[in-house]
Symmetry: D2
Subunit: 306 residues, 4 copies
Amino acid sequence: MSHHYQSILDSIRNEVLPLQNDGAVANYIPELATISPNRFGMHLRSIEGHDHAVGNSNENFSIQSISKVFALALVVSLVGEKIFKRVGVEPSGSSFNSLVQLEYERGIPRNPLINAGAMVVCDMLIGQLKKPKNEMLDFVRMLAHNKKIMFNERVAASEKEFGFRNAALANFLKSFGNIQHDVDEVLDLYFHICSIEMSCKDLATAFLLFANHGKHPGNDEALLTKSQTKRLNAVMQTCGFYDEAGEFSFTVGLPGKSGVGGGIVALHPHKYAVATWSPRLNPKGNSVMGMKALELLTTKLGSSIF
Amino acid sequence: MSHHYQSILDSIRNEVLPLQNDGAVANYIPELATISPNRFGMHLRSIEGHDHAVGNSNENFSIQSISKVFALALVVSLVGEKIFKRVGVEPSGSSFNSLVQLEYERGIPRNPLINAGAMVVCDMLIGQLKKPKNEMLDFVRMLAHNKKIMFNERVAASEKEFGFRNAALANFLKSFGNIQHDVDEVLDLYFHICSIEMSCKDLATAFLLFANHGKHPGNDEALLTKSQTKRLNAVMQTCGFYDEAGEFSFTVGLPGKSGVGGGIVALHPHKYAVATWSPRLNPKGNSVMGMKALELLTTKLGSSIF
Amino acid sequence: MSHHYQSILDSIRNEVLPLQNDGAVANYIPELATISPNRFGMHLRSIEGHDHAVGNSNENFSIQSISKVFALALVVSLVGEKIFKRVGVEPSGSSFNSLVQLEYERGIPRNPLINAGAMVVCDMLIGQLKKPKNEMLDFVRMLAHNKKIMFNERVAASEKEFGFRNAALANFLKSFGNIQHDVDEVLDLYFHICSIEMSCKDLATAFLLFANHGKHPGNDEALLTKSQTKRLNAVMQTCGFYDEAGEFSFTVGLPGKSGVGGGIVALHPHKYAVATWSPRLNPKGNSVMGMKALELLTTKLGSSIF
Amino acid sequence: MSHHYQSILDSIRNEVLPLQNDGAVANYIPELATISPNRFGMHLRSIEGHDHAVGNSNENFSIQSISKVFALALVVSLVGEKIFKRVGVEPSGSSFNSLVQLEYERGIPRNPLINAGAMVVCDMLIGQLKKPKNEMLDFVRMLAHNKKIMFNERVAASEKEFGFRNAALANFLKSFGNIQHDVDEVLDLYFHICSIEMSCKDLATAFLLFANHGKHPGNDEALLTKSQTKRLNAVMQTCGFYDEAGEFSFTVGLPGKSGVGGGIVALHPHKYAVATWSPRLNPKGNSVMGMKALELLTTKLGSSIF
């Protein structure tokens, strides 16, 4: 099986290579726009703990919105389902409606994987943790078995300098009472979490948790209950890909999450977790080569959940 | 295994019985409001063709929005992916936004399982079929192995008499050019499809197609390709439950579709299709007992897709 | 004074002539697109009953939305302020929001001069009149002192054939219970009223009513009370020019109403009513030469209400 | 005439007195909620410079949104019509749509009298003035002939502490590039202007400018051109009363502006300016006694602009 996965990854690399000039690097903040665009990496870690990789799979990149899954996992491990009184679990439709939906639903974000929802999660983490930034980082390091994982302070500062829409969202949530702490403190945590840098290897390792009932493989400790893990996977399946959740469900057929840094991570329950990275994005904000690579993976394995 | 399924269904019936007075029967059209509310039926058909049932599983009821899956399957079998140029595959967010979203997206419904999307499907069927109503009925009969399946003309007439919001949607789509035939003809087909009456047994039998790569079990003919079947399952997973798609993904964890007649049908790829019926609905329009029964099923089987 | 008005009208004609190729004739229905575009007429009737005119002021054209004022005046004369329980008096913001606003405000149109509001007015007229179309026509003829005013049946038929957005609105209103009669009957009256053909002379004559406390000059009969007339003028001032009500308030500074047929009619309380006609429209749907002519009129007279 | 005005004001006071317990004081910020609610004052200043007053007309109160007119007048006097490239002149429809409208119209507020529009005005003032807060205060003092007019720093601080929705708006505008200076600096100016305290006498005196072609009575200097004054009056007429602009146009029939501090100021071009104050508000945020008093005024004078 190990050899099987490796040969599939090798052939995927060859098949996605022709796409390496398609799409554009995210440039809404200057720091992200400086990345070298023609990168591609992929790492698959099986439930048995075997690793398979191609390309720039050990190179660090900005995980951006993928971090929302970590923040959600941590808050769920701390307070359980209580978080879902302050944030929904339903897909959000087009981003165009995000503000009017918040207005209509009295400040309750549709789900924890849109920006507004992740801010509520951050607010709740601030209430639970003494040093939220440090403890968040420790949580991710522990999941990924890598103590070197860091924030990128320049990226966080750049987000803060240009993140007016996010500041609008946070203040709007506060006006409805669904942010309890200081708006600037919440945004600071939110921007830092988004700035975490990890490699495909780190991400595949960390997400194996979600493929394994909430237990870390090779470790008896249950970080999440089975039910909590199912909840997180269901949220990723229906809400993990901006306005392409339906498309990803079809073409890839796995729960997962993407980020504008070009990373995508997905998982097949009971089988494996897999991460890809390539900075050029399609018009909906998802990595061009990553989407194709994951589509090829489930096609070749014949193993989508559908 | 057969005996296993049966004992699980028996225990589910006992566990959902206390909920039999919870929720309210749909009353937006008079014809639906006349149903006897305290019904519960459930039918599971395995990929091997074994049947298991409890309660009122052979009683006919109005399948309502479940019919949208049949219409979509038929149009995909006729024209393939072309339908997705006129209707999206993404979840729609709250129903509140349905009209403004149609406006913003220039008349392209978000997906084929909301009313507007199903109307576009009906419009396309009218262009493909000589006798759309008859051929639609034949398709459903063939899938369910039951030639006695019929429209309920009183229900269709009642929908027509009171369906002003649907008439608004159809005219709005027409104003964008995304309905090509006569509005009244499209609505007539739409209302008739919604009025189809089937039993849990019929629905489980018909939906086995989607659990079996698009081939009818015991039949060599492929009605849908593997890829088309995956698409339909992905659409059901992300869009099948009005504003509870995320909740259903979590609590049940299977692709499926519900209707305001109280029916729900779901499927586990490669394993089984299952249908429940109970007319009392929760505030989001899904059957109270049906939702609970399916949650219990995947919990007891340990077999959600997540 | 009479001579004064006439010389001003003469000079206005010269000043607007250079604009005669600016803008485009409405073409959303084929019948309106056939009009000869380079027309310009203007007619002013003073409170003392003196007439002044230039250009094609006696030529008939499709009054379109100007008719909404007549329908509103008739319903107010019949039932008084009761109409304002079913339709508001506030401006509507951009047309983009019309449907979402109807949804948010539970089927109550913002004002009687947008399409949805005029449909509610038509619905109320049907409940009050035995032969609504005939009686509506008689009312307009009486106001304009012209028994030859007619519907244009081809225009009404063309509106019906292509008016899917209006059909959507009417059905949407009906779904909220704010249309009581048959949707097709309401639309038939609505489309007929819009198709009325009048000249600038007819319109200035008819609108003198609103400049004269609701009494027809040279006639003792009060068709509207002083208060009702004030209400109608206030509604025209704030809602009469689609998305240019504010702009018209500033540049012209009079209550008035425009139509996509190229007509505009305005009035200075206690002084005069004035109508212009020129078919080419600006991007917001108002006549280019008409807007300019009226701006010049109030500038030259030094007589806006502000 | 002077005696005439005075007797009318006296009778108005008697007629509005029974309403003194209707409505509720604004309580969205704690500082405003401390006001004694049963106050009523009214001051009319004629174009000839005669003053007439009743009740608490010399008592200071928080002018709140009335300040938006002063900010607009100052920016127009400095840069002319250029401001209208960054803010529209059309009414905004219901407040519900404010955010979605900003989104749809790419960050251009509908008019300068809604919060978002006034923030753009403040941003432009910051670019024009060395000491914006001081110069703004000087401008108001000059118009009102009263050097003692001051900000209420406690109210400004209270707005800042609780004004999350305004902070959301400002950041949202900034994300579209329609705020050029620091968000906190813009909000600081905005909150200070809103906190200005004036009496009815001050307001009537200051607004006489708008009734007198932009010249201060008894003063040769033109602060605004005739055209600019007309523009301001037109904007007040169509946009000055939140979601009651149409209602105010009808019942009062004058251009004006209200504030949640309970003040209303209106003007009859070429005749007079008039201010009322009473803290209890109707559900739409306008003073109950003030609205009634102004309705009585124009009824008794027979002098609305319609």
